[in-house]
């Protein structure tokens, strides 16, 4: 069986070095090749003027249509503020056990919370968020270990509390799922 690859889809003019570091971290965690690709997606159809946010559900479905689900997993990385109808915002979203996920750096930026810009912290938070959402695509659910990357985070500082790696239990579930 052909080895699956992971595509990190840049949907927001990210710095190449930034993308590379995120890709390398994801590759190290999941032991799959992670390729970065540029995407010039027109986000206007996904914009909700009433909420001044972008519809995460529709973006996820759109990316799903562009994915070769047999041979790859894809995560779209955005700069815009994402939401789903029931929630005021999301950091990212995935379809559990399927091939696609999305994540946004919008709410991971320190500046949004009135703090000093911190590019390194942004990179670390992005890596954690990308690995977390990819974990869902591999069928992992939220983990109760505080340090596990699959621990649920609903605000930015909570992301900082966890590590960027899977705990042994989640790693074992992942290994079982990949057999």
């Amino acid at each position: 069986m052909e080895e699956k690859r992971i595509i990190l889809l840049s949907c927001g003019q990210f710095d190449r070095a930034f993308l590379k570091k995120v890709a390398l971290a994801a590759e190290a965690e999941y032991r799959h090749a992670v390729i970065t690709e540029e995407c010039h997606l027109d986000l206007n159809p996904f914009y909700n003027p009433a909420r001044r946010q972008y519809d995460g559900d529709r973006l996820l479905r759109h990316i799903h249509l562009c994915t070769d689900t047999e041979h790859e997993k894809m995560i779209g990385l955005f700069r815009v503020d994402l939401y789903i109808p029931i929630l005021t915002y999301i950091f990212g979203q995935a379809i559990l056990g399927k091939s696609v996920a999305i994540a946004s750096v919008f709410r991971l930026r320190n500046e949004l919370y009135g703090l000093k810009q911190d590019d390194n912290l942004l990179l670390i938070r992005t890596i954690k968020e990308v690995i977390h959402e990819l974990g869902h695509t591999f069928g992992l659910i939220h983990c109760h270990h505080q340090a596990c990357v699959m621990h649920s985070s609903t605000y930015a500082e909570e992301i900082d509390l966890k590590s960027s790696t899977l705990c042994p239990a989640c790693r074992s579930i992942l290994a079982d799922g990949q057999k």
Binding site: L87, T88, I90, L96
Partner: protein
């Protein structure tokens, strides 16, 4: 993460259902969704959900009505009402109806996470509480209901099988066999155990007092009724009423009791307001109610109403095997209550107890042991500490003359043959005493 918690999402919007489904699945919950209240109720017919998130505005039945229907089904699900239109009135109504919480769409992810986590911990606490209650229930025993004989085992089996039902029970048995203990055991092992067990000793009360005791009275109902008073039936609401010596109640009270048992409602003496009470009746008697019914002194309809289950407690003489166990139990009980070291009983004393008839049954045995502990040496109950071991009155004297002779002899000896003082003590004159001395040929032994 929380794989035991099940969540049902009820919302007519596909996007809301899908988003929440996805969110909760990622959290590891067992999630299902329904597009309207009707579908949700259908799903609830086949399975339970720990948490139900229901939209307030749905075509057909709204979230508040769905919540009322869920409550009517007596489901313990935690219901959280969701709405896109926040209004104080609907929030208050939802909470008044017993909803766990009320959230406005769209939710802050952190708020949703907290809400579900709190609901999940409440469910965990409730489950833990139930589990602990069950454990306590299985440990429930009633003190003093002791024995391993076949007869007492049969009683305990009957207690166990009848406890969970609501059936009326008549406990029969001789005085002192432990009828009230059996009633306590039934109550303690029933679903009513967290409510009171109210005992009424019918035999100790006159008809009018019993009426007031059972039904209560209103202020001014009779001389001395200076306050409103709840009756025993009212006090037993949710629990059990134990009517001891039921055979002693008057024909009038029998009619009153029958009416109350049939309607579970009554009026306080001097009152006019109908009061309802949910109680279970357990009666006890040492008389043969069946023969009282045949002789017309006890109402047949009341007898059948009360005698749904009959538990007969055998007298102690028919379960001699239980005496050693009962003795050790009472020794433990009284040594503990008197703060004494544990003592034993000598084999000879125990043997005598096993031979004894015990007309007063277990109560008599208990009193004997308590007395023996009080008067004994503090180490071992000896035969002499028991009533059957004490020196019996001299019965060797067979005739009245012989008895009189001995008594006069004893009195004369006591007063050193002073005839005047002896006559005074015997309450006879001196001449009579001299005649008796001659008659019995009594002689002063120097």
């Amino acid at each position: 993460m929380s794989d035991k918690i099940s969540i049902l999402i009820v919302d007519d919007e596909d996007s809301v259902r899908d988003s929440l489904l996805n969110w909760f699945i990622e959290d590891g919950y067992d999630v299902a969704a329904a597009e309207n209240a009707k579908k949700a109720l259908q799903m609830l017919e086949t399975r339970d959900f720990n948490i139900i998130l229901a939209d307030i505005k749905m075509p057909g039945m709204d979230g508040l009505e769905l919540h009322r229907r869920i409550r009517a089904l007596n489901r313990e699900s935690i219901v959280i009402i969701m709405t896109a239109f926040a209004s104080v009135e609907t929030a208050v109504q939802a909470l008044k109806d017993g909803a766990y919480d009320y959230v406005t769409k769209p939710f802050d992810p952190d708020d949703l996470s907290h809400l579900i986590r709190n609901a999940a911990s409440q469910i965990a606490l409730r489950n833990e509480n139930e589990a602990l209650k069950k454990r306590v229930t299985t440990l429930e025993e009633v003190d003093d209901l002791i024995g391993q004989s076949e007869a007492i085992r049969l009683v305990l089996e009957q207690v166990e099988s009848v406890a969970q039902s609501n059936a009326s029970v008549i406990i029969t048995g001789e005085s002192g066999t432990g009828k009230e203990l059996v009633a306590r055991a039934i109550h303690a092992n029933s679903s009513r155990r967290y409510f009171p067990l109210v005992s009424v000793h019918c035999g100790a009360l006159t008809e009018s007092l019993l009426e007031s005791e059972l039904f209560g009275h209103e202020k001014g109902a009779f001389t001395g009724a200076t306050f409103n008073r709840k009756g025993r039936f009212e006090m037993a609401d949710g629990g059990t009423i134990f009517l001891d010596e039921i055979a002693t109640i008057s024909p009038k009270m029998q009619i009153e009791l029958l009416r109350v048992l049939e309607t579970k409602s009554f009026v306080r003496v001097g009152g006019n307001k109908e009061i309802t009470s949910d109680f279970r009746v357990i009666c006890a008697t040492n008389r043969d109610l069946g023969s009282m019914v045949r002789s017309g002194t006890f109402r047949e309809d009341l007898y059948y109403r009360l005698n749904v289950v009959n538990i007969n407690i055998p007298p102690l003489r028919e379960r001699v095997d239980d005496i050693p166990l009962l003795v050790s139990h009472f020794i433990r009980k009284y040594c503990t209550s008197m703060s004494r070291d544990m003592i034993t009983i000598e084999p000879a004393a125990l043997k005598q107890l096993e031979k004894f008839e015990f007309p007063g049954n277990v109560r008599e045995l208990e009193n004997m042991i308590e007395r023996a502990i009080v008067i004994g040496n503090g180490r071992e109950i000896k035969l002499k500490d028991l009533p059957m071991g004490r020196e019996a009155p001299d019965t060797s004297v067979e005739s009245l003359d012989e008895l009189e002779k001995r008594h006069i002899e004893q009195i004369l000896a006591k007063y050193n043959w002073n005839v005047s003082r002896s006559a005074r003590a015997l309450n006879v004159d001196r001449v009579t005493l001299y005649n008796k001395i001659r008659k019995y040929d009594l002689k002063h032994k120097e």
